[in-house]
Each structure stands twice: as structure tokens, then as C-alpha cells.
Symmetry: D2
Subunit: 246 residues, 4 copies
Amino acid sequence: MSSALIAVIAGVGAGTGAAVARKFSSLYPVVCLARNPDNYNDLVKEINGNGGKAIGISTDISDSSSVKAAFSKIGDEFGKDYSIAAAIFNASGGFARKPFLELTEEEFQTPLNVSARGAFLFSQATLPLLLNATSKSKYPPSLIFTGATASVKGSALMSSFATGKWAVRSLSQSLAREFGPKGVHVSHAIIDGVIDIPRTKEWLKDLGPEAKISAEGIADSYWHLHTQPRTTFTWEVDIRPAVEKW
Amino acid sequence: MSSALIAVIAGVGAGTGAAVARKFSSLYPVVCLARNPDNYNDLVKEINGNGGKAIGISTDISDSSSVKAAFSKIGDEFGKDYSIAAAIFNASGGFARKPFLELTEEEFQTPLNVSARGAFLFSQATLPLLLNATSKSKYPPSLIFTGATASVKGSALMSSFATGKWAVRSLSQSLAREFGPKGVHVSHAIIDGVIDIPRTKEWLKDLGPEAKISAEGIADSYWHLHTQPRTTFTWEVDIRPAVEKW
Amino acid sequence: MSSALIAVIAGVGAGTGAAVARKFSSLYPVVCLARNPDNYNDLVKEINGNGGKAIGISTDISDSSSVKAAFSKIGDEFGKDYSIAAAIFNASGGFARKPFLELTEEEFQTPLNVSARGAFLFSQATLPLLLNATSKSKYPPSLIFTGATASVKGSALMSSFATGKWAVRSLSQSLAREFGPKGVHVSHAIIDGVIDIPRTKEWLKDLGPEAKISAEGIADSYWHLHTQPRTTFTWEVDIRPAVEKW
Amino acid sequence: MSSALIAVIAGVGAGTGAAVARKFSSLYPVVCLARNPDNYNDLVKEINGNGGKAIGISTDISDSSSVKAAFSKIGDEFGKDYSIAAAIFNASGGFARKPFLELTEEEFQTPLNVSARGAFLFSQATLPLLLNATSKSKYPPSLIFTGATASVKGSALMSSFATGKWAVRSLSQSLAREFGPKGVHVSHAIIDGVIDIPRTKEWLKDLGPEAKISAEGIADSYWHLHTQPRTTFTWEVDIRPAVEKW
């Protein structure tokens, strides 16, 4: 087997993760990471059925041994000399929107672990393999972090989510500065709005059919980031529906 | 003649403006505005020679009667019911990098006029025609402003440039909030680095062949902004070479 | 007459300007600049009646000859070797909150002239005299710019105000970087809310007696900025009522 | 014993923490928290010797049971109905400035725990007692977080420090928005430069005697924040030496 060049997506669910996996599967075998296999099983079948290549691995991105095991399985699948052309960190812990003094320590810590430690573990696992890809990949290898409104705004009642998202944005900036000159393109996307997924089907209906962000639109923007040449790297984009108030 | 759908670029020179004109000429007739016809004459010939359609109009973007005259000529050329699919404001006045107390009032005012008043006049001239395009254009009509490092940082000695660039960034944000819900996509691009044009040929050579921003890369990113659907509008991107220190 | 050390406030009205003049008059003779003498006449009498020293000069801060005339009068009053311990730029043009396409060029340009050109002219007039004060003033000489919510947010319909405020913020940052090392303390204050003045007496009453910013509180914060030593300069503060939504 | 009104400082060392403790001891009994008693023993003696009142408690601010034990001891000392007039979070874990791929998980996690979890635990412990103080304290009760350059910039090689500092800044903004309307003044100070303490004695000597931030200057600014009335709350200030490049 010649050396494989793959895409890895952490935090695959119904929205951004799935759309990104579909988009990047047009050029790369894709690995879908999520804690719950229900989040990727149908997607993996769909991509494989459409002539692409995909595998799913149940992974707790905030746990170093789980992350290690996942990348060991990826090596089993793609050979020891595989490289990563694109790594997308799309994980977010569920969080509690509630008055600060009602938060338990666990409610504060768990989303922070998924966001900040998860982003750290995912970056440490993928960056050596992204660096390996610089000479092999048509496009500069990409490490893309999915952010949110809460990545740039600490709203009242949102501290359990926002602290981790600010931490990830910070990490992405440090990594962009360190790894850009080494040829890895590190980006951060502020997704500012509600994504159009089954769970949000009934939301914002009064604002019309375009009030929610299309996950495919996000995937197209991630693909654009991925295809930017070394002379023209974007660190950050924001993305929102035309009708969004901001 | 059926109603035309065109692109208008203000501030066409050797770099971003020319690359954007070439890129957008693949789908639209393009109008190139610059004070000095030398800045667009060859480009207009080139585009027309390659099967595209381009015209150039000598325009002082900071002068309302000059802007009015330019759009009157555009109407003469494309018919009274033309619309604008993409308007790119890429103008910048020359500026003096010098100690603040050595700046003359004119040295402070002129680049501010080009940036802030120019952006105002260009936006007022194009927005009605961009709004007209919402039902005709395949892609949401786009109004894109070219920014710089100085759009987000007021460095010492750079006040004559930065004040206007901050003003333009502010204007672009106000317009994005007002016109996004009406279907016009307003964006701002922070071009953070030196653009690779004949004038900068000898700059940054020690940093290698990719130390300067490719104008074509910028044009590709503007095109990506233009093709984003209404569910997925980006207001701001930053663009810099992989090797840039920031 | 020994060399005078004075404070100059541009944009004296019922709120911040008057409170700052009163506060700084405890240590310095104060010069109040405003276009309309009604804005400072009573204040000047009040300060002089309370044992302080104040003069008012009718000045159009956006007009270079008017600014020149004002500083000539200050020289007549305080002697040719006077210095400035504190210069506060508090001017804002009235502006039209309206849809962008309904703005006249004058409605856009006039507040921009007051903010951006006014700040430029005021800074050029005061900085040489602030530099002169570095060896004479107990506290590092201060140049303070009053900003607003619109200094950091370009809201829809607010472009005629925000563009100038962003420009001033940018200028203040460039000047802080250039003149800090020379001993002049340049600051910018984001006043984020409604100031409690006669004109706003009936506003926000349902939010209680503390829903509006006290001009005296702003003046106290400006005084604190003025008294910071060279080891501890603040460029920017934000100020808002405890109950403000932001 | 009548109900006590105290100040609590987490992260007392040679610089900011000690200066803040001295400053606030002029009005309040102060509690000094640090892991290592060497960091506060002399200070506590000094304050008590100068007619103030201080106690020190060895505390691991990133550990909930240690924090709980500390506040239990504070209750033993000051009575069950004490309130907090000022709580200052000044803790920072030591961190490794090194290439990202050389960081161990522990090197990344430990400073994040001190910053983000520490700020969470300290805020949860102090906010109920700050809320209690709103009717008793002359000045609005204050919760102040000490930030750094790394609170707003994710530099290369600094990710193990910056991620936690961004998280704390985010938390401080969420808390300012939630607790401001309840009368607690939450602030964040960006300390942008080297603080003048014994450990940094030899640093930056070529830039002159004022190249380092005076901890007393920081304490004066924190005191100013504390004394701001409810009409005039500042969330954020930046502080740096006049000569600092930024």
C-alpha cells in the first residue's frame, strides 16, 4: 500500500462534522471520531456506498488514552506511514446554560475538558502527521477548529461553554503562528448562529428558510481554507446566516 | 440588450485589483476604476483579448462628482437597468509613514478621504445596484472591502493610514449588519502582509519565494466569499503568507 | 508669570466635558473648547467662582484655522512658555441614525470631520505642549480620547458615527505607541451607555436611578488615568453602568 | 463580633498579589491565599505589624476541597456572617514556554487548571459573599481577575499559558454581565509587560528604571476599579510601562 493521505474529523454529528466528512471524502479517505458510534455509523456507510472511503472510531477526545487508541486504529487501517491532509476539530461538550452559582464543578469542567484538553490532544496527535503531509499533499495540510459565537463573547449564563471555546481559539492562534511557517495551515471558524440540523428543525422558522446556517456551507468554507496556497493563509473566518442579528 | 450583471472594482492596480478583475471577469463584465488609466489600460485589453469584457474609467473615488460621472458612464455602457453582482473596494491613498508631529494636515486627510469617504461614496453608488441584483444573480451580490494590517492595529507612525482603514472596517461592519438581511453580502478582508507585485519584487527575498501574498490567492478568497450562499455569509477573513510573523 | 501648566478640554458640554473640567480644575487652570459658548459659559463662571481658573474659547475643532486661533488665545492667556498637563478630546459631531442609503454626503462627512480630523488637529496642537510638560508635571502629561460603544461596534444605521469613532480609537492607539516612550500618556475610554445629563433625564427611568453613566464617574476615571505613573500606563478602559446590557 | 467585610486575594506572591494585599489592607482585613506559605508569611506579618489585619492560608486554588477548606478557615476567623468587599484572582500556574509538540499533557493541563478551574472555584466561593456585601460595603463589591499579554494574544510557544488566560478573560466577561446588574463589579486587567519584582531585577535594565510595571501601580488601578460607583463600572483595563513596545 502506498502511503495514505487522509482526513480526520473529531466531533462528527448530524451537522458540521458530517458535512465536512462528506466534502473531504471527495479527495481523501476520512476518519470520523465521536464518542457515540450512532453519530457516524450511517455517515460511514453512506460515504463508503458512494465510492468514498470512511471509517468511524468511537473516541473520547478529552481522554488521552482514548485518543491514543483511536490513532493506533487509524495506523492499523492506513499503514504506519500514513499522513494527514486535513484534521478538523469539531468537538464540543454539552453544556449547561444556567446561572453561574448553580453550576456544579463537573458542569463547568466537562465542556472545558472536551474543548481545551480535547483540542490539545487532537492537535498533538495530528500535527506530526500533518507535518509529514507537507511534501505529499496537493494542498497545504490543514488543521481547522470549529468555534462559535461563544468563542469571542462571554455571555451571561454561558461561562461553562465560552471558557473552553475561548481557550480553543487561543490554542488555534498559537498553533497558526508556530506551524504556519512549517507549512501547516491552522484556522479557526466562528460559527455564529444556529446550524440547520434535525434537532433545530423547528427553530427560527419565523425568520424564513435561510435563518439557519447550512452545514454544507460551512464544509465548503472549510474546503476553501484547505485549498488556500501557502502564500494566502487565512487564520479566522466568521460564518453566519444573512439574516442573523449580530 | 438584456439587463447586465456586472462587477465593479475600485482601486485597480498591479496587485489585488487586477487579480480580482481577472477572476471575476470569468463570470461578469468588469469595470475597473482607478485615478490613473495606466493602472487599468493593459488589464482591460488583456481581459477583452481573452474573451472577457472589461472597461476602465478614470475615477477619483474620494470625489462625489467623479464617482457620479463614473457610474453614469457605466450606465451608458451597460444600459440603464444593469445590476451589480460584485463590488470590490480596493482603494487606498498613498500615505506618509512618519512621526505624527511631522504630518501635514493634507498628509493626514488625503488617505482618510480615499479610504473613508471613498468607501462611503462607492457603497452609496453600488448598494442600490447590488440590491437590484439579489433576484438576478446566481450568487448573493457581494460588496467586499480590502483591509490591511492597519485595519486592526494602530501602529506608531502609521496613523495617516490606519485611521482610514479602521473607518472602512467599521463601515463594512455597519453595512454587513444592515444589508445582509436584504441579501447583499458585505465582507472585509484583512490583508496582513506584503503583496507580490512588481514594486515589491525585491522585498523579503530572504524569507523565500512564498513570503509575499499572492494577489491571485486574494482573488480566489474574494471569489469564495462571493459564492457563499445566504445561509453562510462571512463578514471577515484575514489573509497572510504562511511564513508571516504576526 | 512662571510657566503655566494647564488642562485643555475639547468638546465641553453638559456631560463628560463639564465634569472633566471641574475635576481637573482642582489642580490646573482649564481651557474649555466648544463651538457654542453656551456650552461652557456657566461652567467657566462656576469654576472661577469656586476658586479655580477657567476660560472658554469658541472653537470648531474640525477646522485647522479655528484650532490655531484657539491655541493662540491660550498662549495670550497663559504666556508663551505654557505647557499642557492634560488634554482631553471629548468632541463628537451630531450624527444621523438612519438607513445608509438615506445619508447625504454631508451627514456622513461632518461627524467624521469632527471625530477624525478634529482628533488629529487637537493632537497636533497639544502634543508639543504635552511633551514640554513631561519635566514639569507632577503626573505624566495625559492625552485622553472619549470613545463610545460605536468605537468598537459598527452597528447598522450607525455608520455616520461609528466610522469616525473607530478612526479616533485607531489614532489614539498609534499615538499611545509613539508618545508613551516619550512620556506622554495617551488613553482611550469606551463610554458604553447613556450619560446622565439634562437631555437624557427621562431616558431609561424604568431601569432605576443608576441606569445612566455619571459624568463625574467618568471624570474620576480620567483623573485616575492622569495620575498613573510611567510604569503603569493604561491605554484603554471601558465604562458602563452596572445594569447595562452588553 | 459585628459582621466583617474583608478582602481575599488568591495568588499572593512577591508582585501584584502582595501590593494588592497592602493596598486593600488600608480598609479591609485581608486574606492571602497561596500554595506556598513562604509567599505570604512575611507579608502577613508586615500588614499586621503596620496596624492592619491579615491572615494567610495555604491553598491550591485549582482543587475544590482545598478551596473549600480555605473558606471554612476564613469563616472560622471572621465569623459566619462575614462578607467580601473585594476578591482578587491573581493566580497563575507556572508554565512551559516550548514547542507545542514537546509539551506533555501535564504541562498543558496544570496551568489551565490553575487559571480556568481556579478562577471558577474562586468565583463560586467568593460571589455569594460579594453579593452579601452589596448592602454593607461603601464601594461596590469587586471581583478582579489579573490577566496578561497572553490573555489577548496566543503567541507561538505560549499555548500552555495563553489557553488558560483566554479562558479566565472569558469567564470574567460572563460574570461581569451576570453579576454587574446584581451590584458586583467584575473586572479584568491585562498586565502587559514584566512586573518589577526581585526575580526580574536584572531584566530590561537597558530600557531604564521604568521599563517594568510597578506592582504598586497595579494595586492603585485595582483600588480605583474597586471605588468606581455603580454608574461607572469598568470591565477591562490594560496596563503597561510607558516604554513598552506593543
